[in-house]
Amino acid sequence: MLRSLKWKLIFYLAIVVFAILLLMPTLSSQIPGWFYKIIPSDKIHLGLDLQGGMYLILEVEAEKAIESYVERVKNNLKDDLKDRNIPAGRLEREKKDQIILEVSGEKSRVDKLLSERYSMLQELSSSEIGGGIWRISLILDSKQADYIKKNAIDQALETIRNRIDQFGVSEPEITLQGTDRIMIQLPGIKDPQRAKSLIGRTALLEFKLVDEEGDIEEALKGNIPEGDIILYQRTVDPKTGGVKKIPYLLKEKTLMTGEVLKDARVAIDSQFHEPYIALEFDDIGAKLFEQITGANVKKRLAIILDDNVYSAPVIQERISGGRAQITGRFSIEEANELAIVLRAGALPAPVKIIEERTVGPSLGQDSIRQGMISIIISAILIAVFMIFYYRLAGAIADIALLLNIILVLAVLSLFRATLTLPGIAGLVLSVGMAVDANILIHERIKEELRWGKTIRAAIDQGYHRAFTTIIDSNLTTVIAALFLYQFGTGPVKGFAVTLFWGIVANIFTAVFITRWVFDYLTLKVRIKKLSI
């Protein structure tokens, strides 16, 4: 018994020392680098509710990616039909993933074209509607649709990651949640509004020609020439804050997109000292741009970002070298933001913020301060009460409680878990259960002593009997915690984690460590009277 007492002590001490080592990064900020090679822990991370920051859930509208893909396919098909001299009438997208096509002449030529170059489309139905005209309805292959969707989400995740990296936030967390949601956590962010507009922007850059022949007045009345669209240039007057919208009649066809961008930087105009964005295209883009400008000299080329016309300068000459610029009345922050989103690339589909939780840094500090005050007061009161009521045994219980908290925090830093407000509630609950475990044991020992047992026997019986009760009540709670973790969301999970580890630590400290102390006192010190 005495020998095993020694081994137990070594074992328990090893655990406690290890736990304290795990907590070192949290306790001190000056930890040498080699420490982390040996001890696999990290500073305890505080949740956004405690340290302030922003939590976002974005929904990727992946259906829109399908829509724009089918739209592109439709445009290609139009060009192909023209190239092959197949007379086509109606050609439009229906719903999000269908194309309706009307051709006259031999249908087999169309079929050949479709099977050769449009394997992603499946024929839904086709019928002759009279006059030698065939109506064919096509649908996007469902596998291809799934692929586009998944790709859109992955790409959105990657793009947002890039943007946030360039924005400069320390320890951001960006992960996929479920199938089409992205969770973003930005701790300690100073300007949440700017971060949101940076993240949520689609940033689709397009170059389209202005329709010089079309009549804008007529178009605004509703008579838009075929193949044209109207987009607006919005300018905000910095003095009055009024928004002015200038309409542009543009060719619908996009000549070039931001996909071919190599770089986008903010530069300052030397004449007017206004910031503009200097674009640099990659090789393909440079060639394409040269071609486009060469073919459309003296025409106006509109630069469009997210359906907003930024400028529509007249092309003076063929532009080689792959450079262009976006001018507008930007503030320097706006220009910076635009440069970041252009560099990081466009989102393949628009995203929508469906959940947001922002906590200002001062509120987080208040929460921590008030939380600390209450925890310290409660700890002192519990400790004093236990000693007052149980004397020596109470002091032992106090040590166990302290160890309990150390162990839970150590586990948190080992698993790099985050401590949140609900997490603290879980910790408080587990400390409550730890107090209860000690009380159960002590009350039981007292009972056994009253029944005339010796100190040794009373301790033995007390622990033995109380143990089943403690295991039963703690296990039930553990089961609840596991289910909450498995099926709960963010805050519920945080609660479940600290509760779970709190109970595990509780069984260890309240049952095993205190038992060792009692054994040591009765076997080694041989106390005659137990003050409990």
Binding site: I57, Q193, K196, K352, I354, E355, E356, R357, T358, G360, S362, L363, D366, S367, Q370, G371, I373, S374, I377, S378, L381, I382, F385, Y389, Y390, P422, A425, V428, L429, V431, G432, M433, V435, D436, I439, E443, K446, E447, R465, T468, T469, D472, S473, N474, L475, T476, T477, I479, A480, A481, L482, F483, L484, Q486, F487, G488, T489, P491, V492, L499
Partner: protein, 303 residues
């Protein structure tokens, strides 16, 4: 030291006819309040909407803030003084799709309006209707499944369904009463109040098991005693522990109530009610349910 003298023998179970009525009345009041208020007031977390916590550096009164919201065109915004003098909590229940943009424009116009009062936005929460629904479903599933698991565990551990049932009936009792208190106090059911419910579940089942364990032990020792007496003896024997534990936990919660700040004020007030109910239900609900089950469903089989 003993808080309860060892020979204490209160007749807890004997008073069950009376105490059952206390519970029934409490439950009726709870349901009454919930129905009167047209259901539980769901917070932004579950109902969807916008929650803002703003603080001004200069003196301002609630009606000024309320007026500001009226001029923006949000008459139904609920403005409530929060904790400190110049701090407010604003709730806007809207189910529209683009809440985030709305929240942004509100914040912009507030900042514009209160330029001279140095407005600080301390917290902004936007929960879209879909997310709110998701959170609600998940919370219900998590709680429901953990209930079921506890019922099974207790039933298996005590080898009798009745014990599991007693524990769960007591839990349901506590939850109804806590919800009642939430409704009467006019609190909003948010994620942090869900944490209260979970905590109360933890304590209540813990309490119940302590007594049931003692009953199980005493059944072996006292073969001649009636089950009712055994329950009474067991409750008395563990009474010291019940009072000490509940007392300590209550002390912690009271400290949190007074020093924990306004953010967890709702949390602690609901917790106080739940704790009282949890301790009470262990003695007066869980045990009588087990006894009732044995009287009506098990004795008959033996005869």
């Amino acid at each position: 030291m003993d808080i309860i003298r060892p020979d204490t023998r209160f007749d807890f179970i004997g008073k069950k006819k009376f105490t059952i009525w206390i519970s029934i009345v409490a439950i009726l009041i709870s349901f009454g309040s919930i129905f009167y208020h047209g259901g539980l007031k769901l917070g932004v977390d579950f109902a969807g909407g916008i929650l803002l916590q703003i603080k001004f550096s200069k003196q301002i009164n609630t009606s000024e803030v309320r007026n500001a919201f009226e001029t923006i065109g949000l008459k139904d915004a609920m403005v409530q003084n929060f904790g400190g003098e110049n701090e407010f909590l604003i709730r806007i229940e809207k189910k529209s799709e683009d809440l985030e943009r709305l929240s942004r424009s509100i914040q912009d116009s507030l900042k514009e309006k209160f330029k001279d009062k140095a407005l600080e936005i301390r917290r902004a929460e936007v929960v879209g209707p879909k997310v709110g629904k998701d959170l609600k479903t998940k919370a219900i599933w998590a709680t429901g499944l953990s209930f079921l698991a506890m019922l099974v565990y207790v039933a298996v551990r005590f080898r009798q369904f009745s014990y599991g049932l007693g524990g769960i009936v007591a839990l349901v009792h506590d939850i109804i009463i806590t919800f009642g208190a939430i409704s009467i106090l006019g609190l909003e059911f948010s994620l942090s109040l869900l944490a209260v419910i979970l905590t109360i579940i933890g304590f209540s089942i813990n309490d119940t098991i302590v007594i049931f364990d003692r009953v199980r032990e005493n059944i072996k020792k006292m073969r001649k005693e009636s089950l009712e007496n055994i329950f009474n003896i067991s409750i008395n024997e563990t009474l010291g522990r019940t009072i000490l534990t509940s007392g300590t936990v209550m002390m912690v919660v009271l400290i949190l109530f007074f020093f924990g700040g306004p953010v967890i004020h709702d949390f602690t007030s609901a917790m106080i009610v739940g704790l009282i109910s949890g301790t009470y239900s262990t003695i007066y609900i869980a045990s009588p349910v087990v006894l009732f089950w044995h009287e009506h469903f098990i004795k008959k089989k033996k005869k």
